[in-house]
Structure formats: C-alpha cells, structure tokens
Symmetry: D2
Subunit: 455 residues, 4 copies
C-alpha cells in the first residue's frame, strides 16, 4: 500500500507536500520521496524512512519549485526495496517524466516479457516502471495521451499521478480499486490518496477522481480538465480501505470511514453477541468497531490496551529479552481487565500470531474470559491489487476453521463478521476477493507466490 | 518531569534498560542516558533525543556491565539543556558516582550560594549536581550514608537512584512527591518511576519505595536492605501524576491510574452535567475521564479526534503553512461531530491555547455546540516540585474567571472538576498546590520566575 | 574521471574492494559504489561521498558475496549527480547486469536519439546506461557477446567492467584512451584502473588489458579468457593520465608515472632555464616535475608550499572570510621564500585562477621573483574522452598568448613544456588533443558546450 | 598535544575560529570544541571528530557572539575521552568561566588529593578542571587574578586561554614549554598555539606570549594589557615542537620550523654520512630533514614514498586483509627505489614498528640497501609536559642499543642525530628530557605509568 500526492502551482511546494505526506504516513512507512519542478529543472529526493527522518530543512532547500508529486512507500522485503522508492523519474523521447503509483498491476509478467523481448532494460522491480516504458513506446508527444495509451494495456489497480514540465495528471483505474481525491487550495489543485491529506492543509472543494477518469492540470494555464479516459467497469473498490487501511477521519469512496467501522461493530454485536463485562479494542485498528459493538450490546467500552507512541526500535531484542516476552508496543491496563469477561475487538485477523499474543496479555492482566470479535470476514485469499498480505499459506483462515483458529489463539470464543453483515454496512461495488477468493481480474498462476513481494 | 531506572546484577544490563526507558518515554522526550558498570569501569552514553534515536546497536555495545542507571529528560529551554542530561557522573574522595533524579529541590538557591562560597564549581544547572556536591562534603566513605547526609540538607521533591562500584541505592523524599517503585526479575532488583516499566520486562514483587525510605542493594552480595532513612512527613504525593502524567497502565501511589481518571470523569459528569449528543476525549490525555463522563451521563462516547502517531517534525513550518493553520497533531472526525452538541473532555487546561484550537477544530468539523469539561480543578499556581509548567502569568486560570476562560477558548460552556470532587476520588495525602496555591514547603521568592526553567 | 574495480571469486569480496577503491580515491571524490553477488542475489550500495564516508561496518555487512565491481565517481554538477552514481544495475531479457565505466563516449547524442525513437526510457544521464540499452537490444543471451555487440556501436573512450551471475568481463576501447590493468591474488582475478590498487592488496602478475581486448572470467569455473574483441586502432592513450591524473606510484601505459613526470621537469629546465634561488612544487601535482627541474638546473629544491591534509570543509566561508582571503588548502613556508627568486612548478595551467593565487601567496611570503614553469604544453582544447575540464572559453590558453597569461597570473616569467619536449619523454601513441586540438574521433558539434558536464 | 585558539571582539566569531582550528588540526584529531559569548550568554559545542565533522552550518548557527575560545584535542584512550573534550565550562562564585589548555601539569596527584579532601567533585579527568577548581577557591572576583592565584599552585606545562563575560586571558607557564602567540586582525586580538593559525586569516603584528606572561583583553574596552604574571624560570621550551610537532610553515619559539628541520638533516648528514643513490623522506614528517640531508650529502632527493590523503577508515580490516598486509597510508614508488641504495630519513623513531614496516616496504619495492637516518637523538624517556608518548617500556631506544634497534627494524644501517648536533641547530633554552631523561620539574613516581594516558 502506498500514499500519493500531487500539487500544482503552489509556491515552495515541497513545504506544503510534507505535512500532506505526513498525514498519509499510515499508508507506507518504509520510504518516501518528493519530486518538484520549477518549470525548468526537476528536483528529487527519496530515501528509506519516515517523512520526518527523510525531509529536514536541508532537503527541503534542495527542492525548489511550484509543482510536485510525493509518495509514501510500504516497501517489499529484500534487497530491491531501495531502488523501488518513488517518485520514479525517467527520460524518453518526450523528455523527463515523474510518476507516483498506488496499486498493483496483474498482467505485469506478460508486459515485462514483451518489453524485455523488445530490448527494454529495467532498473526497478515496480509496476510503475512498466507503465513508463509503455508510455515511451506510444507515438505521441502529449503526456496525458501517452498515459492513456499505456494504461489501456494494463490490468489491475492503479491510482497514479504523473508530472512533466507541462502537465500534472491524476488518474484512477476503471474498477476504482484504490482511492484518489482532489481539491483546491487558493488557486492550486491538490491530489491525494485520502481526504485527510487535504484536510490537514485546509483544501476545499474535495471530489473523488472517479473510476476511469483522468484529471489534467496544465501548469502553463493552470486550467483543470476532467476526462473520462477509460470506460468505467464494474466497481471494485477495495473493501479493506474502509475496514482497516484508511484513516478514521478520511472519507473514502463516499463513505465515512469511522462510521463504517462503528457500524461493522454494531452488526458484529448483533450477529455474535456474548455475555461479558467489558468491550476492549485492539488499538488503534479496532477502536471504532469496538465502540459500535459496545453501543449495540450495551456492554461498557474501556481502553483496556494502550499502544506506545514511541514504538520504533532500531535494536534487535536479544534472546534474553525475547524470552522475557518484552512487549514494546501494546500494554494491558489491568484495572480494566482483572476478573472481567472481556470482548476484544479487532478489524481483521491475518496470521493469528498477534491475536494469540493479545489473548495471552489479556489473561496475564487478569481477564477471566477472552472473546475475540473480528469486524470483517475471515481473510482467506491474498490481495493482488495493492494490499500487502502474506501468502495464502500464511493466512490462518485459509485452511483452518473458525474453531481451529480460536484454539490457536487460545480465546474462549471467536467470531468474524459475515460477508452479508459487511454488505449491509457498505453496500455494493466493492472487491472482497480477500474474503471470497473471487478476483475481479485474471490472476496469472505465477503471481500468487509473489503476493507478499509485490505491492 | 523525568523518568528514572536502576538495575542491579543483570547480564548485558543496557539491553534490559532500553525497553524500560522506552516505556517511560512519556516522562521526558528531550534527552536520555544510560550509565553501566562492570564492577571495574563506568560506561556512559547520553544525548538529546528519544530512546530509539539515542541508543542503537553501536551505542549498546559500548555499554557493557551488569549494573545500570537510566534517565529520560524533559529538558528546559536554552543553551544549558545538553549539559544537564543525566545520569550525572562525578568523582570525589569516594570515587566515581552516578546519579539520576526525578523531582525538584526548593532550597537550591541557598545551597548553591553556600557551595559557591566554599569554592565549588558547577558544570550543570541541575539540582542533581548540588546533591553530589553535598555528598562529597560529607565525611564518610559509605555511599548510602553520604547520600543520607546530603539529602538531610535539601528541601523539595526527589526520587533518585545512585550507583557506585559497590551500591545501587534508591530513595524518595519524606513527603513522597514523586513515585518510585521496585521489583524483582530473576535475581535482579529493578527500580523505576512507574510500574509500567517493570511490567514491560515481566518483573514481579512490585512495591513502592515509601516516602523517606532508602533501598540499598549491595552489588557484591546482591543483598537488598530497606532503611527508613528519613522520618516521613505529611504525605504530599503529586496529584498531577494521577490526573495526567503517569501512564494509564501504571499503578501510582497505590492507585490505578486509569480507574482514577475514569472516576474523575464520573464525578465531573455529576457536578457539571450538560445536554449533549456525544462525549469526545482530547486524545490521549482525556480518554479515561471522557469514558467516565460518558458512562455516568449516558451520553455516547466517540473517538471524535484522532492523534497522529507520526507527529514529530524537524521542519519549521513556514509562515505560509502557519497561516493555513496546518494541524499536524490532532484531527477531527467529522462524521462524529457534524451537527452534534459535543462534550469535549480533557484532563487539564493550562494556557488555554490548545483548548481554543480544539474548539475551533470541532466547530470546523460541524459541531453545533462545544462544551468543555476539565477533569481537574483550575490550575492557578505553578509547580515547584518537578512538573514543568508555565509561570503564574501564563496560567490562564490564575487571573481569569471560568467565564472569562470560556470566552477565551470560545466554548459554549466550560466546567472544571471541584477540589472536593477530586478528593472524593483520590482521598488524602496529595499535594494540590497547583490548584490551591498552598505549597507544602517554603518557596523562595525568587524561584517563581524560574518556574518554567527548573524541572 | 573515474576509478573502477572488478574482483572475482574472493570471500567477503566487499572488504577487499574497499581499500582498493580508497587507493583510487584520487580518480573521483564525489561518490562511490560497490555491487556484489553471491551467485544468487545482487547487493548494491552507492552514495555521494568519499569511500570512508560511504562504507562503514553496517554497509559492508549488507554486501555479502564473492564477486564484485566498484566505482569512484568524479561527478558532474547539477541535480543529476546522485542518479548517475555507479555501479549501474539493470534487468533485461538476459537477467540482471551490473556495469562500471571510466571514459566518455562521443556519439551519445546519435545513440540516444535512436534509442529514444525506439521507445527506450532513461533513468540516468550516463554513457553507461546507453551501453546497457544497446546490450539489451542485442539478440544474444551470452553477456560477453552482448557487450561486444553494444560496443561495436559506440565511439569514444571506455574502460569498463561488467558483471552478471556468470561472468566478470573487463574491456578497453581499441584506441586505449583510459588505463585498465589486472592481476591475481591467490585464485582471484582482480581488475582496476591503476596498478596502485593492486599493489595495496599485494596482487601479482599484473598486466595491461590491451586496447580492444576483452577479458572474460567465468565465475563457475574460475577460468580467465583473453579475447581480442575489437581490432586495435591507432593508439590514443590519454597523455593527461601520465602528466597529472594517475598516482605517482602507479605504472600507467607501461610508463612509470613518477619517472615520466620527473623527466618532463628535466626537459622543461632545458627548454626554459631561469636564474633563480629555489625550485618549489605546487603540492602534490608538481612535486616530481619540480624535482626534475631542480636536478637538471642545479637550483635547490624546497617544499616551499604545504598542503593541508584536512582541507575538506562543509561550511561555506562567509563573505567576511572570503574578503580575508582565508587560504585553507595551500600555505607558503616563508623561510624558503623570503628574498628568493622562486621557480614554481606545476603540471598544468587550466583556468589560471589557482596559479594567480599561488603567485600572490609566494609574493606575500616574501618571494622576490616568481617564475612559473608548467610541465605540459598549454591546454587549449577540452577533453571529450573522460577528463573533466572547463569549456574552451574557460581555458585561459585557448585565446591568450603565453605573455598574456603571464600577465594575468602576475608572474615574472611563465613557460610551458613544448609538445616536442613532451614527446621526447613519453614517445608516441598518445592522444594530445587537449594541447593540439587534434581529436582522434569525430566530435559532434553540440558536444563542446557540454564538455564540463560529461565525464 | 592540543591546539588552542582565543578571539576577542570579532563579529560571528565562530566562522573565524573554524579555519584557525582547521589549520591546527595536526595538534589534535580526536575531538574539538568552540565556546562563544555574545556578552550575555555562553554557547558551547564540542564533539569527537575532526573540525569538518563536528562543525557544519547548523552548529555554527548555534554559536553566536563576538568572543570565543576553541580547542583541538588529541584524546587519551578509554571511556573518559568524551568527558574530557574542551573548552571546559564551569560556574562558580564568579560566574561562568571557559578554559582551553595545551600542556600537562606534573603535580596533579597532590592537587587532586587536596581538592578531594576539601570535598570537591570532578566531572572530567583533565588538568584543566583542577585549575578551575583552584580558581574558584581563590578569594577574588577578578578573573585574571584568580587565574594567577590558581597557577601559582601548579607545576608543569601550560599554555592556556580563559574567557568569562569580561575578560579573554592567555598565559604561558614560566618555563615556556608549549608555544602560544598572538596578533591582530582589524581591531580583534587573536591568540593561537602556532603562527600558521594566524597566517590563515591574515592576522598581523604576531608576537609570542612570553614565558610567565599573561595577556588580558578587556572585552568591554577592547584594551590589551601585558602582565608579567610569573617570574620566568629557566627556559624549557619543548624541543619536539621544532623537531616534529609544529607545522612546517609555523614559526615556533622564534625559530622557523622548516629551516630548523632542514638544518637538523644537514648536521645528520655530516655526522652520519653513507654511500647511497637516493635520499627519501618518510612523508610528511621527514621531508625537511631529508632535504637537508640530500643538500649536504649531494645524494639526490626523491619522493620515494607517497602518503594517501584519504587514509581515514572506519572499517576494521578483517584478518584476511591484515594477512595481506594491506597498506593504506604509505606506498612506495618503485621507480625511485628499484636497485637503489636508499637513505630514508624520519624525524624520530619511537616504538620502531613503523620504521620496521617502512624498511620492508622499501625492500619490497626493490631497494638494494636501506639506511635509516633519524633527525633527532634516541627517544629514551616519556614526556610529562604534553607530548603523547608510549611508556618507557615501549620506547625501543630506552633499553636497546642503536645496533639492536637497527637489527629490529632490519635496516642496513641506522643513525640518530647527536644531542650536540641538535644543540648546534636550535641553541639553548629547550627541554630535551625525552632524549636525556633530565626532567626540569619533579615528576611524581606514580606518574610515569600514566604517561600514555595524560596529555
């Protein structure tokens, strides 16, 4: 998963981009980058680390200009991570071009093979570079046209922002997998993955880039044009954005994230009630759903687990520390838990390892019973559209029954929201392949193995 | 405010100390340090920054040994901050000695004058160095005795841990201002400001260092001795530790922090009810009290404000950004606020500037009414016992009525918990000088001006 | 100018590469990189800075493997410098490939145009990337063959080392512009720009890679094969390597650098004698020639100028400091200069600005007369084969007579070695375009302007 | 050994101090610091590393003011090095005081014992702190008087500069062990260890601070006063400053360093001639003496060894590299050495290990004979006045004859300059304890062991 930003016609644009990228930090913490232009030259800085690690006064000084694109990356494992940082900047017949991308193409293998056969060379392992190759091979000097020409050849999910000397272009795939919105700040057009990034700078007139749309800003005239570049297909917006990924104060796909999550908790309480003394969220992911569960069930809500704000650590815990089970990130509040029957609510259960540790922590703090409630259906299939997930083998629900999972995490009870319950809250138009295994596009056989490495 | 740690007889003691200091990071974020000993030499590393900035693999390698003291510092402003980092390490007739200190002495002016007249030189501006001077002037080679001799001359608050080649000594002033607890991990004795630091490593047998007590661990024999070094005086434990400072999962002064805070919210709801649609906490400080207010009033609780986990910034926002009112730390969740009458709960209201911004943010997000509720009485007098606070002039409640403050922060209503309400929850034995102006010790006239710089 | 390294079959190869790159640091100080392989994966680290800035314990740990290529870069100005660091690593139909390059192609414009027209995209502004594009378009899976196929299309100078999973390949252009040598250390083959890099690790059996030769090491079998890949053309070895660039303890093009330089000084003394009291070198570039001048003329040699070993500075001198003429790098030794008639010897005179400052410094230290002697002919034309030089306009000798230059630098006399004198020392087979303007290859009209930016 | 700087009344004084400290970098490479004052506050930055590592734009910004002292430190081994960085800044009855010190006291043990018995605490292990303690105990508010009062109690060597809000004071011990000079730049007074630091900024009117003198600059009036604070004793200027330590372009103790060194080489040639083909210096320490040897003997001088300018390394060479004998710092120039009878000249021979390696390197490069010539007498006794040296046991000449040393370093012949020869060049008034064992002050028995750690 990644966060992307695009800004046109704003003085000292890098200083505006930084708080926006910071507000999208939850979409990617492994690296980030900003590329600016003053209409003549391009300036690029990208590095592994969080925004405040990567961008200080010194770096900002080296990013002059009024136009920019920015990126937060949730990087894959392995040696290649550094080369894959974005924005990607390439030169072709049409001059220099920068690109930032959130999403995942599903026909990369075929495209790569074709390009390699034509003698192309690759310097990253990103989908983004493939798109730039395709653009360079389109016989047009007009960047938005080249982008359309390239995207007509790809399958899968993409929200992306491209920038050359004349244009800033934002577009979203015809199934609408990933979010992308835009607004205005004074005379500038601002693009971002989520509304929270526009709220932080006070941008207004916020709208969705609709599936298949392309928004073209001409930096010479500061005119914005909305083009329906691709025929919209059946809507397949990512349900996981609403369940977990987006920030609680963002509005995603015309839904208010926080409200959706609370309602999922309410339906969950209706579907799987339990006699208990207290409802506890796994912070921060389960807070809204736990609130909903509490309100619907009437069982009191408590912040029975606290999360450290200083959890980053650069020291490998020694074996001794590991044996002590040093818990650096989450801590139970015994006074909420001692002697209580606890409902613990989280948004999802992926491998089961964290849930197992949480159950143990709750019992160590004195909980009498632990009832795990998950505000989404069992995750049984990996995502090929941009959410980083383990392989099918590692998804505990892919080959274990609910009862077996319960046993593994050592809870007194475990229940997941039903797919129907989920639909009741969000309606139609969502990709739920991770819960159903029904992928809305072809998935090449070889791709599944790579699931964990491609984002 | 500061956080302190002491550990005896644990192999690779620095690696154990680091997660403990991390769990006390809320007590001081400006600098930190660890001093270890292998029984022969001393090793010290201290630097400005958070634990994970200051201590990496490389630094830990240079801190061998089995005994240590550690410190988190909430530093004062100005050039002197770097020289005041702790542990402080000095050499005297009795050899090398390390000290970490949480608290604030009130007769430093007089002590400093006396020492300077005797020809002493100072290399820091800390109380801690004064104690070390006094120890060096006591005619004893026995470190615990020297510490007693020195502390008999001081007034004010201190929880401190001293370490030389033979002893690890922890002590707490006879009024018990600051917390200090200890426990066991295998054969090691572990001292810390709060229980959360012992929980994180799984230490057991946790007890308070009682006011006036001195705990002496002989590192040669690993024997622990409890001495009533000073006659306990009237208890004056810091009420602010319970209201705000300590972690919600810590037990402080025999009270469960989270429960206390929730009960403060309940009493507040009884004392100052209001017709409203939703109770919102200021995160994270107001969460428990807001929960109590909600439970007592029956008004639904919502997480209507979210706090960024990545708020650190090394870039000074430009004036342009400041004019945009870029809000990097707190963000409102419109879906909880739009059209609602909002009760917003915080633990305290100091200068009023943050509360004013929060009110504006809530209204910007659509709140119809904003009712501010503070789960402590008006803060009218600065603290001279270790809590960093503005001068009296800057404390908005020191010269404004509640109604004037309400107007300043632009809320529809404002109410503070009464001193009586506070007592109902916590009982007796607390210093509440910040609310009452009744200081339990003499305060030299000159000190008030320094309030903000002495911690 | 750059320095390149290649090593096959050596355990922990990165630790061997580092002292070698350090010994080639004089060939490029702006950035450096190492790429290793363990036969399965590739590991790459490159960054702006000197070797000891870029490679510490941590970086070396992330470079496992037994095969490597390394690079020191003398970077161009402007924003593109970071993206041009080498080794360059690209993926094509034939898998991943790494390349390091010393030299400069002269038909890049034409090649770039052709590649761009075919839809290629570029991520650097280096010649090296062009070669990699050409290789990818050759219809062969055999890397050495692809390299031959690519190089048949290029003109200009190159010494380069390529590495994929099977082969380590070193080659040198048919005119032999840049040096490239190899040797053995135990069972490993070691390639480097200069012999000093092989001496530092004690490698033996040192030979030149001859012009047009390709040396192929198969990492599976550890067999080395010497191929005459290109028909040698008229020898055009870079005379500047001998005059200035290579280290005094390197043997370059079968000449001993130090001896050549001393002999240039001797001939210079014969051609342009002068009555004087002392011969002084500009350190370190003029030392050997000054020695020769002194020995031939009988005028005593003195180290009348010393050079700081700590000249690196990250602080921009303020205008005040600039006005004071703070001289950080060179300092005169008054006791050698006071009242003396001084012969000052340097290897070349490019812009004249440094020579002007040196003359002033000598006079400030009391020199009575200053006679400048240059151990090479006037530099009148820029180099297009890999030596970084100013544009023709900035070369002071391009449009000024010797007498005008003398006046500009304010010396009492000035003399340059004659082209004939140069030939007497080094013989034939050298490119001396910088002195004569006779370029051994076609130079596109547009290129001259770029002279300073292409290396 | 250390380098010290003091500047009065110069705007943005830190930017002036940095090139000066850089020019004294040879006097201490382990750490450095600058303390400035704007007349109201003090600003201090000190850290381990070279000047250009420690002081960047950011650090300079935090050092405002017009008055400063600066220090380069050659640090001792062990954990205490960081705490010993200078300037030292302490507060006493008389306010804040900064001090920088070059030299070594010889009665520290006795002074420390006395101060500790009076209850003083120490935070460093430097002599400098002792002086500051003594100053605080003097009953005077006038800083220059306090400094005189303190220095009357010490024995040994010191050149030091003190600074408080009113005065900048420089003083030199009555035997004149260490150099200290001053000059003027516009209206500012500038103090430094060597003249090279004044030359670099173009200061004029350079004079010595004479033994026992104190120079007092009143920052309020910008008046300079010269006081003969202490009765001069028998002159004992450090002969090693002239032989090795000071920069070749400095004038030290009224002698021109370069000339002295060359003359030492000339006398050496007269005392110990040898049939040979070439005279080679060990760079850079032996250059001037080798030049003298060559001129006197008529044997040609050659730069047969070159020294790397990039020798710093942060990587521990692996055992493999060590076995290869990787030579990172010095490299032989075979073309000067092959088949030759070589006279190799160095300024001193301390442990013999480096000389042994050099002999081997020369032979590896083809030298037929190696004749070592040392331009100073055998070093037989450690220095207690500020030159870092090994213990007596480690000084190879302390218990080996010249013939035994020759055998150890494997030279064909070895000769040292005689003490008489040395006197011929420099005259009287020098401490030559390191060659004679005649110490000009009492040396406490215990001190010898510490020789290597006290500087």
């Amino acid at each position: 998963m990644c966060g992307i930003i695009g800004i046109s016609s704003y003085p000292d644009v890098a200083t505006l981009c930084i708080p926006m990228l910071q507000s999208l930090q939850h979409r990617g913490q492994d690296g980030c980058g900003i590329m600016t232009s003053d209409g003549k030259d391009y300036f690029l800085h990208k590095k592994e680390g969080l925004i405040f690690d990567v961008f200080g006064e010194k770096e900002v000084k080296k990013l002059p200009g009024y136009q920019c694109i920015g990126h937060n990356r949730y990087s894959t494992t392995g040696i290649s991570s550094k080369i894959n940082l974005q924005p990607l900047l390439t030169r072709s017949l049409n001059g220099w071009l920068g690109l930032v991308h959130n999403g995942n193409l599903t026909n990369t293998e075929e495209l790569t093979k074709r390009l390699e056969n034509e003698g192309s060379i690759f310097q990253t392992t990103t989908d983004t570079e493939i798109i730039m190759h395709l653009m360079a091979k389109c016989k047009t000097k007009h960047m938005p046209d080249a982008l359309i020409c390239a995207l007509e050849q790809v399958e899968g999910s993409y929200s992306l922002i491209a920038m050359d000397k004349q244009y800033l272009v934002a577009t979203r795939d015809p199934m609408g997998f990933r979010p992308l919105i835009y607004g205005k700040l004074n005379n500038s057009y601002i693009f971002a993955s989520e509304t929270c990034a526009l709220d932080v700078i006070g941008a207004t007139d916020i709208k969705e880039v609709l599936p298949g749309q392309m928004i073209v800003v001409d930096s010479k005239t500061n005119k914005l044009e909305v083009i329906q570049a691709f025929k919209p297909k059946k809507l397949n917006r990512c349900i996981f954005e609403l369940i977990y990924f987006a920030k609680p104060n963002s509005e995603i796909f015309d839904h208010e994230t926080y409200v959706v999550r609370k309602n999922l908790g309410k339906i969950l309480a209706k579907e799987f009630p339990v006699e208990a003394d207290v409802v506890i969220p796994v912070p921060d992911s389960g807070i809204a759903a736990a609130m909903g569960y509490s309100q619907e069930s009437g069982i009191p809500f408590e912040m029975g687990i606290i999360r450290s704000h200083y959890q980053r650590t650069f020291i490998q815990p020694t074996q001794a520390l590991r044996d002590l089970g040093v818990k650096m990130k989450l801590a139970g509040v015994s006074s909420c838990l001692r002697g209580k029957r606890v409902v613990i609510v989280d948004d999802s259960l992926v491998r089961g390892t964290t849930s197992k540790k949480i159950t143990k922590m709750l019992r160590d703090c004195g909980a009498k019973e632990v009832h795990f409630r998950i505000s989404s259906p069992p995750t049984v299939s990996p995502c090929f559209y941009g959410v980083s997930m383990p392989t099918k083998q590692e998804l505990i629900a892919s080959d274990k029954t609910v009862s077996e999972v319960r046993k593994y995490i050592n809870a007194d009870s475990l229940a997941y929201l039903s797919i129907e319950g989920l639909s009741k809250v969000v309606g139609n138009g969502f990709c739920n392949a991770c819960f159903s295994g029904d992928y809305p596009t072809n998935i090449p056989l070889g791709l599944e193995k790579l699931a964990i490495r491609k984002i």
